[in-house]
């Protein structure tokens, strides 16, 4: 089909037909609004993002350099809401400062992992045969490592730093996306409109990106949301083990690792960073659950 033909065939009327995809997004959004867990999760995430963006400018103390050694390991008070740590630093300021780090690690590791996973999954599902079995066997191998162990292996090789934690968590999240996307691609590929597109002479990449990918977004979005929760847990776990963010970075897992040495006389040092992790993970789990319900065709009106 030549370009000029396409141009002539365009409808001349100004009234656009309603975009069915947009309509279905609206229906999902309406259902999300009614879903309690999605609303709570979404609001929490927005709050966390605001804290991450604005918080560092409003914290009462500098998270790194305000070290009040005479007042170290102080219990929570009106001066230090969450108390002070072993260097006399204000834990509240450090928790606030760590919010952005945590969100960034969770978001970027899943962005990277999901992108690679989606690509591999779509290629595997679309081309099938040899391509499919090679890709999926490699994914099986990655899945053969018990959860955090794969990330641990990668961090061991690359060395412990926050950037490497993102890479490690990203790689360990690839297989789940590849699996889900491959499954969805297989079911969409069978539909008639794909055959029609092929008969019209559309290229593989056009079919994949314009016709398959937009129709398999809902499972990807659900999985990505839930994966961010897992990523935050794994990343903070690696930092807790001393393999991720290094002190004095106010990363929540690393702060917990400091706190474990003071459980006897200053349990608050470990309490608050942990609570912060719980809130962040909970927020993404809530939103993920809500999204899953909203996308579920069984509950769609």
């Amino acid at each position: 089909m030549s370009r000029s033909n396409e141009h002539i065939e365009k409808p001349q009327t100004a009234i656009k037909p309603p975009n069915p995809r947009l309509k279905s997004w609206k229906s999902v959004f309406n259902k999300l609004k009614k879903n309690k867990s999605a609303v709570v999760g979404g609001v929490l995430i927005i709050l966390l993002i605001i804290i991450a963006l604005v918080g560092p400018y409003l914290t009462p103390y500098d998270p790194l350099y305000d070290q009040d050694v005479t007042n170290k390991l102080a219990t929570p008070s009106s001066d230090h809401w969450f108390g002070t740590d072993n260097f006399g630093r204000d834990i509240f300021s450090r928790v606030i400062q760590g919010t952005g780090l945590t969100l960034m690690i969770g978001f970027f590791s899943i962005l990277l992992g999901a992108t690679i996973g989606i690509f591999l999954g779509i290629i595997a599902g679309y081309y099938g045969k040899r391509t499919d079995s090679i890709i999926m066997r490699i994914m099986d191998v990655l899945l053969a490592f018990p959860s955090i162990l794969l990330a641990l292996t990668i961090v061991t090789v690359l060395g412990g730093s926050m950037f490497n934690v993102i890479i490690a968590v990203a790689i360990s999240s690839i297989p789940i996306f590849a699996r889900i996307v491959r499954g969805s691609t297989l079911s969409v590929k069978k539909l008639e409109y794909i055959d029609a597109m092929r008969a019209l002479g559309a290229s593989d990449s056009r079919i994949i990106f314009k016709h398959i990918l937009p129709n398999i977004t809902s499972p990807i979005i659900v999985q990505a949301t839930l994966s961010i929760a897992t990523a935050i847990l794994s990343a903070s776990g690696l930092s807790f083990l001393g393999l991720g963010a290094q002190p004095p970075t106010p990363e929540w897992g690393a702060m917990l690792s400091d706190g474990r040495n003071y459980l006897y006389n200053a349990p608050h040092v470990a309490l608050f960073p942990g609570l912060a992790i719980v809130v962040a993970v909970l927020a993404f789990n809530l939103l993920g659950d809500g999204l899953r319900d909203a996308f579920d065709p069984k509950t769609r009106e």
Partner: protein, 318 residues
């Protein structure tokens, strides 16, 4: 069935090869010369050459890999750089500790998860259901290392109780570290089992709700079968099938989670061995432990798949 088991075992072979390649490559992907890394900074050249010769690092990579696998199959995973002992005996001493920890945690998770899931499913949308599922969501969202620290604080260091509480003056009931006695086992098992219990509870609830909504359950009720029998005989039996898979996957997750739990409670298992060895840059031990843990996980998944098939088969015959 026999054919299925054989086919499933054959399927694990490429996975095992892949896992061994990744574990083998670890040593070579570490930036710098592995022999130099092992010898340490500023070691004399002679010593580095010695190590290189001893580890066969001068051979071509494929030969090194084949040697590694041949030795590994015979139970030789190399020598620890730190202790000078065989890696396999280092692991052997700790293998069962981690398996015990993961096993007890799985038992706890299945037990609590099933009970909570069934209670929730049978009282759908009630206050109890909502509360239990909220607790489950918290359990799922908690980093287990933090839970471990909190449990140590509450139940090992203990909190003083008011004087009117009989028998106990504080809550220091369990031991904060080690492995072996009952008081040492309780807290790590709770720590490791909680998130799995939460996942199994959620899974059980949704699986039960799916089954309860089906026609044959309505038929059973219409026949006048007692509600308890409907739930446990008819619904649970079928709801269990997807749960079996989740339990298998959880066991693998627990093997990984054991790294953090063992680190918190100073349990001398494979997880702590990995961390200690990473910190000491004792790569042969890291490699060996990760290999053993992955093999264990692959094996457990194999068993679960077969069990799933068996369960399914029996129900097909009914």
């Amino acid at each position: 069935m026999f054919q299925f088991i054989i086919r499933r075992i054959l399927q694990t072979i490429p996975v095992l090869i892949g896992v061994s390649i990744i574990v083998f490559s670890m040593m070579h992907l570490v930036p710098g010369d592995p022999a130099q890394v092992i010898a340490g900074e500023g070691a004399p050249q002679e010593q580095i050459d010695n190590i290189r010769e001893r580890l066969g690092l001068n051979d071509p990579l494929p030969k090194q890999y084949l040697d590694y696998v041949t030795n590994a199959v015979q139970g030789d995973l190399g020598t620890s750089m730190r202790s000078g002992r065989d890696v396999s005996s280092e692991i052997g001493a700790r293998f069962w500790v981690t398996v015990e920890l993961a096993f007890y945690s799985t038992v706890l998770a299945v037990f609590v998860g099933l009970i909570v899931g069934i209670i929730s499913a049978t009282r759908k949308y009630s206050a109890i259901d909502t509360t239990l599922m909220l607790i489950a969501l918290f359990g799922l969202s908690m980093p287990n290392f933090w839970l471990g620290l909190m449990l140590i604080q509450w139940f090992a260091i203990g909190i003083d109780l008011p004087s009117w509480v009989p028998f106990f003056s504080n809550t220091a009931w369990f031991s904060p570290s080690g492995w072996g006695s009952f008081s040492q086992i309780v807290l790590p098992v709770i720590t490791l089992g909680t998130s799995s219990a939460a996942i199994i509870a959620r899974m059980t609830r949704s699986s039960m709700l799916d089954v309860i909504g089906q026609d044959y359950i309505r038929t059973a009720r219409a026949k006048g079968v007692k509600e308890q029998i409907v739930i446990y005989r008819h619904a649970l039996k079928n709801a269990l099938i997807p749960i079996v898979t989740v339990v298998g996957l959880q066991f693998g997750g627990l093997l990984g989670g054991a790294v953090l739990t063992e680190s918190v409670f100073a349990v001398n298992g494979m997880g702590k061995l990995i961390i200690d060895s990473i910190q000491a840059r004792d790569f042969p031990v890291v490699q060996g432990t990760i290999l053993v843990a992955s093999l264990l996980f692959v094996f457990v998944n194999l068993v679960v798949d077969v069990a799933y098939r068996l369960l399914n088969k029996r129900i097909d015959l009914d």
